[in-house]
Symmetry: C2
């Protein structure tokens, strides 16, 4: 007998079917036994008139008859006839998979990760994550971007220095890429619009709810721009399309978190960083310390301001100071102490960093000199600006932070299948 998927069952009322999946809930009531079975397409309740022998967590094959029942979730259930356990739990599960909430301690959540991921509420995080990737892949192509894959092993730790992981590469030293920055810029000179979904490695010794040491970055680079607002506008459009798709296709997962996708405004409001600092001090009586561009509390309050003032979950903070941005960031034409660099906040947390880049060789050399950056190991990148690089800019977006902010998760680690931090390298 051929297998029927759960999402095909509504087309087979009265038929005998074979389903396969995992038993997520097992209940007994009167003489009846109820088993909720989940497969890759959904879940359905099977009712047996005697004990089915199935335990929570088992992988099962069940044959039975499809019954229409308006009280059932999805309006159908199966009258179970034969049940076979094809794989069972040799030991007791360390938690009850059938409970609505897992309520594990943070350590247990990650120590038992291969099992805790089976819980529907945790599955939902990674279904939203899957839809986010799908959205980015589809929408970026709709907008004329070519997908690229750039190297993660680098000869030199060039983009900052201290926060690179070092590798033993045969008889040499090498480094893990913090971002595809140099390569995506080069590729914007080839395909005009490029995007990459790739691993980023950050050797930052952080212990926060917003950092992990390995994450998946959604990058983009765009040539033939007029200014950095072009980059922001394309990002705005892309996010709008993605969020609509995820909202439609992910409704059932969002519901488990009692939330909906944040609305992406037609035009996300812009505020200069220098201005938001004044606003925050005046309105919320919070002063960001000198020499800091913005801190997490500042971001939170900027998000609050966006909501109160513009009814927006998003806000662009623009014109980051020259002293805080990397050497390749285009200085602001109006004020050389500021740059064409921006962050995008979602619900008071930075989810995107972007900028217009310097595309003129001479300007780049001068900016490096002013910053005291040495060209060693970057020649392949710097030379490209001798060869007709059009004006360009782009962004890097943290995929896991997006999911964290959408589902209002306490830590970004909850949005990583197997998170890596200073102390955690396993599972």
């Amino acid at each position: 007998m051929e297998r029927t998927l759960v999402n095909e069952i509504s087309g087979k009322p009265g038929e005998k079917v074979l389903i396969k999946g995992r038993a997520m809930v097992v209940r007994k009531l009167g003489g009846l036994s109820f088993v909720v079975v989940q497969d890759r397409s959904g879940s359905i309740q099977v009712v047996f008139e005697k004990d089915s022998g199935i335990k929570v967590g088992d992988a099962v094959e069940i044959t039975g008859e499809v019954k229409k029942d308006e009280r059932a979730k999805g309006s159908f259930e199966i009258a179970g006839e034969k049940a076979e356990v094809i794989a069972n739990n040799v030991e007791d599960l360390p938690f009850d998979l059938a409970r609505n909430e897992l309520n594990l301690t943070v350590d247990n959540l990650y120590d038992f990760r291969p099992l805790s991921l089976r819980h529907p509420k945790i599955q939902a995080i990674f279904k939203i994550y899957d839809l986010l990737l799908k959205g980015y892949e589809e929408v970026m192509r709709e907008e004329g971007f070519t997908e690229i894959k750039t190297p993660k092993i680098l000869e030199a730790a060039t983009e900052g220095g201290a926060n690179f992981f070092q590798i033993k590469y045969f008889d040499k030293k090498a480094y893990l890429a913090q971002s595809p920055q140099f390569y995506k810029q080069i590729m914007a000179g080839v395909f005009e619009r490029v995007f990459e979904i790739g691993t980023a490695f950050r050797a930052e010794p952080h212990f926060t709810t917003r950092h992990v040491n390995e994450y998946t970055s959604l990058d983009a680079e765009i040539a033939f721009i007029k200014d950095f607002y072009d980059v922001c506008r394309i990002l705005n459009k892309v996010l709008g399309k993605i969020f609509r798709k995820v909202g439609e296709e992910g409704a059932e997962y969002l519901k488990l978190y009692n939330t909906q996708m944040p609305e992406v405004p037609e035009e996300i409001p812009y505020v200069k960083l220098a201005d938001i600092k004044k606003i925050i001090e005046k309105k919320y009586n919070y002063k960001i310390s000198e020499g800091t561009d913005i801190d997490p509390e500042g971001e939170r309050l900027a998000g609050r301001y966006a909501k109160e003032e513009f009814n927006s979950d998003f806000i662009f903070l623009t014109h980051y100071p020259w002293s805080d941005k990397p050497f390749y960031t285009m200085p602001s034409p109006e004020n050389p102490e500021e740059t064409c660099g921006f962050d995008l906040l979602l619900r008071g947390m930075e989810i995107v960093t972007g900028s217009q880049r310097i595309h003129l060789y001479k300007m780049l050399m001068e900016n490096m000199k002013r910053k005291g950056v040495k060209p060693d190991g970057m020649e392949f990148y710097l030379n490209i600006f001798k060869f007709a690089m059009p004006p360009h800019g782009g962004w890097g977006m943290g995929s896991e932070r997006l999911v964290q902010q959408i589902l209002r998760l306490k830590s970004v680690k909850e949005a990583v299948l197997f998170p890596r931090d200073v102390k955690r390298l396993s599972p």
Copy 2:
């Protein structure tokens, strides 16, 4: 004036338009000057009645009138009025971008990579690559797979040992993942069908045309299979759909290589590895040395046999010997010296490795013992088999090798934007 993309020009005959892009060809003939401009959507010829001042490789903005001209590529050209060079080459390009073939030495091809990638024939490789990624992303979802991202930094070098790159991870040692093997198996226990597009790192000191030390692997894992043929059948279907899409959407790029997509048979032929070795020896008088599963020449001849016997560019080689496969490979139920492991060859080169995995804890422990594999550092993975893992299997496919074989490139490195080998870490 708003920019018009090249692929929008056919809708604007007689109109004045502004185009932006790179000058790929510049020719003078009589008093006329011809400039082929490429943007992200295509290329078009612009005709000026005097010297435009544009040089090959420049980034330009041109205004002019759209003219229908049946002799022109795409049936349209632009009568150029105003030309502005927005970025030019400060030094001479190291090769002529306008020539049909670059004909660079291998070293120059990669040393000048940021520039050689701008050549249309090299661009075409990465347009096919982009379409391949697009195909995998779309088709895997159509087939019910969830996209996952698994960690590339591992606590232990567990899947073989010698070929791992070592990292300094804060005050610990760590390793770069060779494949997502353990994680995708765990995730098949969560979502039944999962796929990953991710970086794989191999510290193999190879100097061949078929190896790189960093590549992009197209992985999949499938639960609730009957046997490994289920895995092969799904792979067969997925490849068929992808290759059709790439053939349709990539026709212009394939044409530059005088080729078409290989046809994926409805059912790719299967031959047991032990049998193909006998066939190769008998038919082609080539003996694969004892103790080797198959070598590159053997693969080439297996590909020749597939073509001659089945008129197929593809062939599955199955039942790889137990002694050559990793400990997690399901032994063959008929012959314990063989496994449920297979390779898929395209035009005589391995592009996929796959197998059914052992899903029973006891069997896995016994197999490890027989192989002398220690459990240290793998506990998180091994323990999952105590918890109702359904029968499952999957594959890893080399994305760059696929493109190499499709376009018949001499080396897999030609299909990597910025390849990494023992000697090359830059650009």
